[in-house]
């Protein structure tokens, strides 16, 4: 750090730097992750932990208000939300002046300002086949001329021509970026708030071409100082970061937001000088370290600990508090639902379970109705979740809290329903198909302890229904393979929002996404028609109506068995200020302060 300071001071003159108070380098926030990150090239990573760190280093064009609930988009490095052309196809962004990348040897000591070309480069890069970005879906198929560039690069010997001007993503001048979409792209504003789409300095990416994940250079408040993959990441503040002062305006009835505003307003952004993130793969050491004050922030209270740490109202999981013994020592809790759904998916192409025939629907319905999801949620999730009742989860644009997607848990009715459709109990004690053939349900399950726990509850349901089941435990990659190739019977699945718009969820059941996101291999003409209509619409009551209809279709077809949406429980030491779980951000480090007595 000091080296940078000295070097910069010599180049730029001390006064420029002292214009605002630097964060205190001795303010160290020791944070934790529950799983290893993979790297810090936003185009190349797809896990929440990597992007969680990335949020602090990179700045996408747009971002979210820290305290507004539900999440609200605000301009970040642009002056305002985009100007949209009348036909909705062209977006114009004006970049703020005087935003600089963090110092890096690549810049040879010159302060490097953010330009529209950087923003265009960051977006185009996602489409480059050589990058093999898992986020390429954000760009491909949407922007005028970009797919052609990617196709050309995909051919043997081809190279992605970043210099070629395309209408879809174009730097109009130094500070103006133009985006032009082929068809309406309702999620566009959200994707421009994802760290994946952050502007990138081309010379940095090309300079570190062989190892971009270890050399993130962005305009955000922090920069990477030390990285031991999968073990530890150390961030320090970016001396080039612009001067800004916290001024949060939370809703009056938002007690937590009010606390944050009280603790932080008026302070400069950011406050913490150094952030040390440790990855914990085991729960016990993480909790013990936090309890013995060797950690300042717990990313999430590990599932097995929830019952010991929190008291959750069994009738309303939204109500929770820290247990007295911990509240007494001042530990703090911030809690929010993750923008996710977990569900159990029936393979729509399975010869026995799949299809839209009545006996098949009845079989799926009976299985779904027999799954004691409430007990599983209580025992495995420790009540730290709410039941999924809508494809789009709470906190995501388009969610309808008054919808009930699943038929109530009722094992006797489920059994009677199977009788009704002629799934008779055979000589061996198991039910046969209506035409009298014995069958076994192929339950695909991930290896590992958690998967095992769910299997136990499922086994019980099948035992009651007298259905023969065989659990197939496979490695994660084989699980994915089976799901993508529709070669399974039932499996657990999950989807976490890439951006908080319902489209990101409703597309899960679109038949064109079979082989990709539609792991249920669900194919319903009714659903497809509704979905394709919804794609043309921006968020609003009209689209909500379509979403309700789509949910009904899935509910009628019983394509899923119930799952849940989990809460994220972040815990802090008493001296951590301003820390609150944001529905979209993975981390809040940049908005927090430390005040030790």
């Amino acid at each position: 750090m000091n080296m940078y300071k000295a070097a910069l001071a010599a180049l730029l003159g001390v006064s420029a730097l002292t214009a605002h108070a630097d964060p205190d380098p001795d303010k160290v926030l020791r944070a934790s992750f529950n799983a290893p990150e993979t790297g810090y090239d936003p185009a190349k990573v797809s896990d929440v932990y990597s992007h969680g760190v990335g949020e602090n280093i990179f700045e996408p064009l747009l971002t979210y208000d820290y305290v507004a609930r539900p999440a609200k988009l605000i301009p970040n490095v642009v002056t305002a939300l985009p100007e949209v052309s009348a036909d909705g196809s062209t977006y114009i962004f004006h970049l703020r002046h005087g935003i600089y990348f963090s110092p890096d040897p690549i810049f040879k000591g010159v302060k490097r300002e953010l330009t529209a070309a950087d923003a265009a480069y960051g977006l185009k890069r996602l489409a480059d086949p050589a990058v093999a970005s898992p986020s390429n879906y954000l760009v491909l198929g949407h922007f005028v001329g970009v797919d052609e560039l990617a196709d050309a690069a995909g051919k043997t010997g081809g190279k992605f021509d970043y210099d070629k001007v395309v209408e879809g993503i174009k730097a109009v001048d130094r500070y103006t970026l133009q985006l032009k979409v082929k068809t309406p792209y309702p999620g566009l504003q959200y994707i421009l708030a994802m760290p994946h789409t952050s502007p990138q300095a081309r010379e940095v990416i090309e300079g570190y071409a062989s190892n971009t994940p270890a050399h993130p250079v962005g305009t955000g408040p922090y920069m990477l100082q030390d990285w031991k993959p999968g073990v530890k990441t150390v961030l320090i503040y970016n001396p080039n970061f612009r001067h800004e002062v916290f001024n949060f305006q939370p809703a009056a009835d938002d007690a937590e937001g009010q606390r944050v505003a009280k603790e932080m307003n008026g302070k400069t952004y950011p406050q913490i000088g150094r952030i040390e993130v440790t990855v914990f793969t085991e729960e016990q050491p993480m909790w013990l370290q936090f309890k013995s004050q060797q950690l300042d922030e717990l990313y999430g209270v590990p599932q097995p600990l929830i019952r010991g740490v929190l008291t959750i109202d069994p009738n309303n999981p939204r109500r929770a508090k820290i247990k007295d013994e911990y509240a007494k020592i001042g530990l703090k809790l911030s809690r929010a639902l993750d923008p996710e759904i977990t569900y159990f998916s029936f393979n729509g192409k399975d010869p026995i379970l799949g299809g839209l025939g009545k006996p098949q629907i009845a079989l799926r319905r009976a299985i779904a109705m027999s799954f004691d999801e409430q007990s599983a949620m209580r025992d495995i999730r420790r009540n730290n979740a709410v039941r999924v009742e809508y494809i789009t989860p709470p906190g995501v644009q388009g969610h309808n809290p008054h919808f009930r997607m699943f038929f109530p848990y009722n094992r006797p009715q489920a059994q009677a329903l199977l009788d009704q459709f002629g799934y008779k109990i055979g000589a061996d004690g198991y039910r046969t198909t209506p035409d009298g053939k014995p069958f076994t349900i192929d339950f695909l399950s991930n290896e590992g302890a958690i998967g095992r726990q769910w299997d136990e509850y499922w086994q019980e349901a099948f035992d009651v229904l007298k259905l023969r089941v065989s659990f197939r435990h496979v490695a994660f990659n084989d699980l994915l393979k089976a799901m993508r190739s529709c070669t399974y019977g039932i499996t657990g699945a999950a989807w976490i929002a890439d951006y908080p718009d319902g489209d990101n969820f409703q597309m899960l059941m679109w038949s064109k996404n079979i082989g990709a996101e539609n792991v249920s291999c669900y194919s319903s003409p009714r659903y497809d028609k509704l979905y394709e209509q919804s794609q043309q619409l921006h968020a609003g009551p009209e689209r909500d109506k379509l979403y309700d209809a789509m949910n009904k279709v899935v509910s009628e077809d019983s394509a899923w068995a119930p799952g849940e949406t989990r809460f994220r429980n972040r815990m802090m030491q008493p001296w951590v200020l301003g820390d609150e779980v944001h529905p979209i951000f993975q981390t809040s480090w940049r908005f927090t302060d430390i005040q030790k007595k």
Binding site: P302, K323, D379, R411, D419, E447
Partner: protein, 355 residues
């Protein structure tokens, strides 16, 4: 020193007829109090294992008879920390919009659902009340830890014994061929051996397990595939030594075939070593199973092993639920300790040098 005692011995051998090595070993074992006690404990475990396989014992381990993590009965009950009752929402539930759901008319199988509702009476079951405590507590699903431990021990012993057996079979067949024939065959098998020993056990174990998936069969096969090397080295060395022994040469001189020399003449003479090796492997594999289960390659859902129970322990202990870990630790360490002491005893008892 032993030579001298040997010299004094003939008088004794004349008076008391001795029998084969096994009978002699058994007598020696009986005299070793520690080993003999251990023997009976191990036998008790074996009985338990057999009872477990036959589902005589621990069969009801899957019954959820208590509340999750019901404490052991001997613990004093603690008062639960509860939330204050929920304040009624202003306006009450009346103002909330009606819930939207699929109506029977919309439902493609609405009619059948309705009939099923009427017929469900015959499947209705009474809901038993769950116990608040159990003699040694319950696990997450309210299952009796004692039952689970019994069944788990049975599975672990089964896994250990079968794994060890398979490992011994692999190690012995390769080792005997290598040691007996020598030459090119030996070179090849030695190469094979050194390849396996050059790769760290843990890595091999993990990669085999990663490739093979999950389940008892996998565990047994994977453990056998990684643990045969010790037996191979032992058997090879013994065959190398014994093939030039005079009684083997004598067997050759009277026209015994290679196979006969290998399996009728030499094999019984290393059987005591194999028994000890087998026991050692069993113990090692029972311990290995625990680690494998911890790393996520355990037994299936409808099965329980000491390892799969131990894998649950870290998550439980942080919550203060120590009973499952203690139960497993007691069951496992008693088994492994007595088994190890028995092996020590066996080794001494079957040592032909000590005759």
């Amino acid at each position: 020193m032993t030579t001298m005692i040997n010299q004094a011995a003939p008088a004794a051998t004349e008076t008391r007829p001795q029998r084969g090595l096994w009978a002699m070993g058994w007598r020696r074992l009986k005299r070793n109090k520690v080993a003999f006690c251990s023997f009976w404990v191990v036998m008790a475990y074996m009985l338990l294992a057999v009872a477990g396989w036959l589902n005589i014992l621990g069969d009801g381990w899957r019954a959820q008879i208590a509340v999750p993590y019901a404490p052991p009965s001997f613990l004093a009950k603690t008062v639960a920390d509860t939330l204050p009752p929920e304040a009624p929402v202003a306006g009450g539930t009346a103002s909330a919009p009606a819930l939207i759901m699929v109506t029977p008319e919309e439902d493609p199988i609405g009619k059948e659902m309705e009939i099923a509702r009427q017929n469900m009476g015959k499947y209705a079951t009474a809901n038993d009340a769950k116990l608040e405590s159990l003699p040694f507590g319950a696990d997450l699903r309210g299952r009796d830890v004692i039952h689970k431990t019994l069944k788990g021990a049975s599975t672990s012993i089964f896994v250990g014994l079968l794994g060890a057996l398979l490992s011994i079979v692999i190690g012995t067949s390769l080792g005997s061929v290598a040691g007996y024939f020598g030459g090119k065959v030996d070179d090849f098998l030695n190469w094979f051996y050194s390849v396996f020993t050059s790769v760290p056990d843990m890595l091999l174990l993990l990669s085999f397990a990663a490739v093979a998936g999950r389940g008892i069969k996998t565990i047994i096969i994977v453990m056998a595939l990684t643990s045969w090397t010790g037996t191979f080295r032992l058997v090879r060395a013994e065959y190398l030594k014994l093939r030039s022994r005079e009684y083997v040469q004598a067997a050759s001189a009277i026209g015994a075939s290679d196979a006969r020399r290998m399996f009728v003449h030499i094999l019984p003479n290393i059987s005591h070593l194999l028994l000890v090796q087998f026991s050692l492997l069993t113990v090692a594999l029972i311990k290995y199973e625990a680690i494998l289960s911890f790393l996520g390659f355990g037994v299936g859902v409808t099965q329980v092993s000491l390892g799969s129970m131990l894998a649950e322990a870290p998550a439980e202990l942080v919550q203060g639920f120590w009973w499952q870990m203690v139960a497993v630790t007691i069951a496992m360490s008693l088994l492994v300790t007595t088994f190890s002491l028995l092996i020590d005893g066996l080794r001494d008892a079957l040592d032909p040098k000590a005759r």
